[in-house]
């Protein structure tokens, strides 16, 4: 595997514990420096695929992340290099204050006290949340929570960011501020979303996932320009007289 590939997955399938099919024969290669959007309707398997990237879920085939196979021996190194940002910041911010949350990764990696302080300060600065160290996480607004959630993975200096619905439940202003923030981070990104505004302004490449299968993979403007393809997978306004109006709502609501 060449070093310029950030993620290399081939023939990955995953079945949920209840027997439901999660992923089916997924091939995906992400190159270093790319921003790839993973779009698809609710329940398409986007989050499941993301969780494979740092070995929270292990697949049936070998996955290589940043040149390392995802196996027990490498798991610590991989989790340090892959920053996983979950959809609900409430899940990501489990400590009693912001400092402890952002410091959680560095502390687990066994850094010194000075190094931890430096990293916390730096990552909070990157997301524009400096001075919030002593605030308790549950008192922040949803936009602030999203930012701190990103800071909690930046504190490990990740080389790959895996983001699940980063703009979910944000208002337009919060959304665009977050998009600018993500743009300012110079790392490889894999973003699972169905927010096409963000995808268009942030990603060069788009992968459509539907019912656990990759159905399209190509340049962003090409795929986002293909209204029929998008409508087929519940990602855009259905072509007139083609589908019931309810699918319009699907593309705006969140995945669970």
């Amino acid at each position: 595997m060449s070093p310029d590939k950030a993620v290399e997955i081939s023939g990955l399938s995953y079945v949920y514990p209840d027997g439901q099919c999660g992923l089916k024969d997924v091939d995906l290669t992400v190159y270093c420096g790319e921003s790839v959007a993973l779009i698809g309707p609710n329940g398409a398997g986007k989050s499941t695929l993301l969780l494979h990237l740092n070995g929270i879920i292990r697949g049936n085939t070998a996955i290589h992340v940043l040149g390392l196979p995802v196996i027990d021996k490498n798991i610590r190194e991989i989790r340090k290099k892959v920053g996983m940002v979950f959809q609900d910041p409430e899940d990501q911010l489990f400590s009693l204050n912001v400092f402890e949350d952002v410091a959680f990764g560095p502390v687990n990696m066994g850094f010194t006290q000075e190094e931890i302080d430096r990293r916390v300060k730096q990552s909070l600065q990157k997301v524009g949340m400096q001075g919030y160290e002593k605030r308790s996480s549950h008192h922040l607004s949803i936009g602030e929570k999203k930012r701190v959630a990103i800071a909690t993975v930046l504190s490990l200096d990740p080389e790959l960011l895996a983001l699940d619905e980063p703009t979910g439940s944000l208002d337009p202003r919060g959304k665009w501020a977050l998009i600018e923030l993500l743009r300012s981070l110079p790392v490889t990104k894999v973003i699972a979303s169905h927010d096409l505004d963000m995808v268009a302004s942030l990603c060069q490449r788009v992968v459509i996932l539907d019912k656990g299968k990759i159905v399209a993979d190509g340049k962003a403007d090409q795929i986002l320009g293909d209204k029929i393809l998008l409508a087929e997978h519940g990602l855009a306004v259905p072509v007139a007289g083609d589908a019931p109006a309810s699918s319009v709502c699907d593309s705006h609501s969140q995945t669970q």
Binding site: R79, G83, D88, E90, F94, F104, N108, H138, T152
Partner: protein, 241 residues
Amino acid sequence: MHRLDPRTKLICSLAFVLAVVLTPAGTWNVFVVYLLILLGLIWLSRLPIKYVLKRSLVIFPFVVMIAIFVPFFKQGQVAARYDIGAWHIAITYEGLAVLINVIVKSWLCILCLIILSSSTKFEELMHGMHRLKVPQVFVQITSFMYRYMFVLADQAMRMQMARDSRNFGLNRRNIFKTMGNMIGMLFIRSYERAERIYAAMLSRGYNGEIIVVNQLRFRLPDAYFALSMALLLICPAIMWW
């Protein structure tokens, strides 16, 4: 008070509670001394006294529920007797004494804990417990409970609103049924959330042990405080010896 090391405060509170519990029943002047100590602490920590007293009322329903039957069962001199059909119910003076003692003691203890919790930040309390070698599982469960109490309450409230907006005069039985469903749903959601939190922890290098960065330090005021508390608590002990 607010600047003291949480460990000092935890140990002193524990000592105070122990002293109260170990004091023999009916030694009223000793209880007065305890109350004076607490009032002094409230004054020292600049807590509004009304707020502390109001919060301390919370304990009464629990205590009363547990201890209310004691006067009926304790053997001794009868204070009042009722005959309801075939039942003969008697209240004894000894039983009443026990009831009052239980109430006074638990009230003193809860006052002490309220002072502790209102003069200490929750995360400091957790740090203190950790440094005092309280089992980690216990500290973690407590801190997760505190963190997600609000999230859970929020969720419950949203579910309640969703129920109320679709509720058109249900009868009592159906209300209990929906309530049961809601509690079950809340449990499942919490369970799923716990799994996601665990995944988020793993993603940041968690391997079964929470490492706490030590930011606590004993200072001179801690020594003064602990010493004076010890002296104050010895006084009542001498009084009833």
